[in-house]
């Protein structure tokens, strides 16, 4: 059994990273040429790591299931990326970003990792600008910032509503440069299906070529997993259709502990579900909460009339509207953190004030009316329009809103056929991000030597809740500025190892297991499609392990997921062939892993008898319905060791020590 040594360096928090970098082992450039590294996943974390490692001189093989590394789901992040640049002079600092992140994470993240993240955040912006990422600028030609939920400074850099896209394309460019040089070999349309361990160390992977169906062996001196989060365990989420947990789950099965699976973020501003045939949910950037006001009708009869299509939101008088976030959280208002805003929406809808047109009525309004009029008035002043009419003000205001959020408004209209300039948007929370993930130490190494987890795939930086615009920051920090240093500490011992052979019993065994599983799927004469099981799993997860959880529901969920899993292995039907393109076969493998993860997820939620961040246990709330943490009992990371069935998993605890921040009840009032 591996022990949980987080390997946090000694010293004051502000010096830890510098000291650590000064003291860890390095690999000289000549030796790097004889060392191979595998990177699984090419999003912001995997892509930036692959590019940087190749640039440093390692031989890198990168794998992605997509047809190009440019398509990883980091691309869909809209709002922005945080960095403690303090360009706005509003009092930001490394410490404040660190503090906000720990507080936002409801005191369940590792201090040293978060501080390092805040520290390198500024490098990311410099780096990305040098790479040609076209961040938004003001008329003076300098970088612009916006503010995001859960903080009181403007530290978010953005590129319209496509920040993730631009950052990922920056990574992709950096990768392309190394691919052109031959330092990085890209394996598109390849899926990692197992990790190979030789003498206790991660030494390679088994991957399936998704075009030919061929099972391939790839060896390396280290394996880096940057395969993203597991939000698709809910079936409906804002993740891409292909986003999956399989790479992370495979390393978990091979010995990497899985941490805090129950810490999952439900994002407050998504487009509500339209019906049963829906395949995924679409997020509307949180940046909209800068200018949009969230409300529901104050009277139940109005809400009912809206749901029945008899009343339009614009016809509801100002005094009949309940701006519930502004009412409950006057100091943060519409900019409360995501978990708080999501739960508040659920609370209103559960109480019967929802305005959705679907069966459940689940939706609240996000209204831009007052922002449009405010900006319009401002713009009229700037342009010197005297005594403008209401209509003129509105037109000017709509223009301003268009420049800020044009693409988001357009996206909303495309999906819903409603014009958000004229009528408020309807939004509802949806699963978006998973703070939990593979446990790793300060070097980002998992409990398997030589196996690393970076980006959303690991657990370390966001605690129980992630602040907006921090996912991009973490992915790039890990890939560009942390892993490339820390991996050297491990690889320094491998300079004389030579190439790892793939014709060994360890590779034979791993390949055989992969082959057998594929053959099982193809030959199983089941009666139900993979999606059938995935949807059932998703329903259980959403209803019982979603925004609010309780002991009874969690126990039921564990039992139901187990049943679905059993049925899956009997009844799943996978058409097509093994030796060619077969999307159903790919999905089958991923859903099989989700079916295990889902149960562990529910178990983790059951064990954590407190409410913190995205994990809300109904038994642990204040009289006002706010989350109540139990710091005495639960200031630790739950790290699960795989033992076959999820019910057999063993819980290890990494205590969380707060030397620099005082644990407080999170208040956004």
């Amino acid at each position: 059994m591996a022990t949980l040594d987080s390997r946090i360096p000694e010293g004051p928090i502000a010096d830890k990273w510098t000291n650590h970098k000064n003291n860890i082992k390095l690999v000289n450039p000549a030796n790097k040429r004889s060392i191979d590294v595998i990177v699984v996943g090419t999003g912001l974390a995997g892509g930036s790591a692959a590019a940087t490692l190749a640039e440093l001189g390692y031989n890198v093989k990168a794998f992605c299931y997509q047809d190009s590394p440019r398509r990883a789901h980091s691309i869909a992040a809209q709002g922005g990326i945080n960095a403690a640049k303090n360009y706005q002079g509003d009092g930001d600092s490394t410490y404040r970003l660190f503090y906000d992140t720990v507080k936002g994470g409801d005191y369940r993240s590792r201090e040293a990792n978060v501080y390092r993240l805040a520290e390198v955040s500024t490098n990311i912006i410099d780096q990305c600008v040098a790479q040609g990422v076209p961040f938004a600028r003001d008329y003076g030609g300098l970088l612009d910032n916006r503010s995001f939920g859960g903080v009181q400074v403007s530290r978010t850099f953005y590129a319209k509503g496509q920040t993730g896209q631009q950052l990922l394309l920056g990574c992709y460019s950096a990768m392309s440069r190394q691919i052109g040089k031959g330092k990085l070999k890209m394996y598109n349309r390849h899926e990692m299906l197992d990790l190979v361990i030789v003498d206790g160390k991660a030494r390679g992977i088994i991957a399936r070529n998704l075009v030919t169906g061929e099972i391939e062996r790839h060896s390396a001196h280290a394996v880096v997993v940057g395969s993203g989060g597991y939000g698709n365990v809910f079936f409906l989420s804002t993740n891409a259709m292909g986003s999956n947990t399989s790479a992370a789950w495979k390393i978990h099965q091979r010995g990497a502990y899985f941490a805090n699976p129950c810490f999952t973020q439900i994002h407050p501003t998504c487009i509500p579900q339209h019906g049963e045939q829906q395949s995924k949910l679409t997020l509307m950037s949180e940046s909209l909460r800068n200018d949009g006001r969230i409300w529901v009708p104050a009277k139940k009869e109005d809400a009912e009339a809206v749901r029945a299509g008899k009343l339009k939101p614009t016809d509801i008088a100002e005094e009949d509207r309940d701006y519930y976030l502004e009412r409950r959280y006057p100091s943060f208002g519409n900019l409360t953190p995501r978990d708080v805003a999501s739960r508040a929406a659920k609370e209103r809808c559960d109480a019967g004030f929802g305005v959705g047109t679907n069966e459940t009525g689940e939706a609240v309004y996000l209204d831009f009316e007052s922002a449009i009029m405010r900006y319009g008035q401002e713009d009229a002043n700037v342009k010197g329009v005297h005594n403008p009419s209401q209509e003129q003000i509105r037109q000017l205001g709509e223009k301003v809103i268009e420049t800020k959020y044009g693409n988001l408004f357009q996206m909303y209209e495309k999906i819903t056929a409603d014009n958000p300039y004229k009528t408020p948007m309807k939004i509802y929370p949806a699963v978006h991000y998973t703070m939990g993930g593979v446990w790793c130490d300060y070097n980002l190494m998992t409990t398997i030597p030589g196996c690393y987890a970076i980006g959303e795939a690991n657990f370390s930086d966001h605690g129980a809740n992630r602040l907006g615009a921090s996912a991009l920051m973490q992915g790039l920090a890990d890939g560009y500025f942390v892993l490339p240093y820390t991996i050297g500490d491990y690889l320094a011992d491998d300079i004389r190892t030579g190439a790892i052979p793939t014709d060994t019993p360890e590779f034979d065994e791993a390949e055989k297991a992969v082959q057998e599983r594929i053959e099982f799927f193809i030959n199983n004469k089941g009666s139900k499609s993979v999606d059938h099981f995935h949807k059932r799993l998703g329903k259980v997860m959403w209803n019982k392990v979603g925004m609010a959880r309780n002991e009874k529901g969690l126990n039921e969920a564990i039992e139901e997921i187990r049943q679905i899993r059993e049925e899956f292995w009997k009844e799943v039907k996978v058409p097509g062939v093994a030796d060619g393109i077969n999307p159903e076969l790919e999905k089958a493998g991923r859903v099989a892993d989700f079916l295990e993860l889902g149960e562990l997820f529910a178990r983790d939620a059951l064990e954590r008898e407190e409410s913190c961040g995205g994990h809300f246990r109904e038994e642990h709330q204040s009289d006002e319905g706010e989350a109540v943490r139990d710091d005495k009992k639960f200031t630790f990371v739950s790290a699960w060791e795989y033992k076959g069935e999820p019910s057999d998993a063993i819980l290890h605890k990494e205590p969380l020590v707060y030397d620099n921040i005082e644990l407080k009840t999170r208040s956004y009032k």
């Binding site: 691309i75 869909a76 040098a130 076209p134 319209k160 045939q277 495309k414």
Partner: protein, 254 residues
């Protein structure tokens, strides 16, 4: 939008076993499709139906389903990403169609994008063009100058951003009567040519990317402008003109 209306449709879909096989159009019926569904959700329903009938589902590329990853393709009723402007196939909704419609669904067609199965094509030619010069040669050390050290004129920063929004889906190639990749290449060349950081190697970049573009077997641009119309991100033809300038002046400079 309370007028819920469900559609019955005839689909003509290209089926092809693998890259070497000869494909053909197959006809399928789907019924009771909600107008609120996206086009790809309609494809999911077709596939669920095929699986239940014991047939192989239709393979098509898709991933984010929110119009940004560029994975989805499909030539629908003779147009890349179907009818509708500035959208990808995943953003196309069934409310654009009428009950009883026949819909043609084909893969991107270009020799540089070979079909690998059904509606899936191989677009790695784009990756190879990118590897030839789609970057700024700067190391990811983090030891670069401060991000605000070089002010960039807002107009240029905005134009660079507009060019950078390309999602690499290949609709430009698919829709171009010549299968030309000029819009794709010009978007990347423009993004960097408009920024001081990227200008330094602008001449080489255009030369190298165009060289690979030509080698990959894309056709030549004849300025029909179809790419600009069908581009889900509205990338402007101005970028192609800029690529022409960068390339030609680069030929002389280099």
């Amino acid at each position: 939008m309370s007028t819920h209306k469900n559609l019955n449709l005839t689909l003509k879909v290209w089926r092809q076993k693998d890259q070497k096989a000869k494909g053909n159009m197959e006809t399928y019926q789907v019924s009771d499709i909600s107008t609120d569904s996206s086009f790809l959700e309609m494809m999911d329903i077709l596939n669920e139906q095929l699986i239940n009938e014991g047939k192989e589902p239709v393979a098509f590329d898709h991933d984010c389903r929110e119009g940004i990853c560029g994975t989805c393709s499909l030539y629908i009723n003779g147009e890349a990403h179907g009818p509708g402007r500035e959208i990808t196939t995943c953003q196309l909704h069934m409310r654009e169609f009428n009950d009883g419609d026949t819909i043609y669904i084909e893969p991107w067609r270009a020799n540089a994008f070979p079909v690998i199965k059904d509606l899936m094509v191989d677009r790695t030619a784009f990756d190879r063009i990118m590897a030839a010069g789609g970057f700024i040669s700067v190391n990811t050390s983090g030891n670069t100058v401060d991000a605000n050290a070089i002010p960039i004129e807002k107009a240029n920063a905005d134009k660079a951003m507009d060019a950078a929004t390309c999602i690499g889906c290949g609709a430009c190639v698919a829709t171009c009567k010549n299968s030309s990749a000029m819009l794709f290449v010009s978007a990347k060349v423009s993004q960097f040519a408009l920024l001081p950081q990227g200008q330094v190697e602008s001449a080489e970049r255009a030369q190298n990317m165009v060289k690979v573009m030509d080698e990959e077997g894309f056709g030549n641009c004849s300025n029909t402008g179809a790419c600009e119309v069908e581009c889900p991100k509205g990338i402007s033809l101005e970028n192609i003109a800029r690529l022409n300038r960068e390339y030609l002046s680069g030929s002389v400079k280099k």
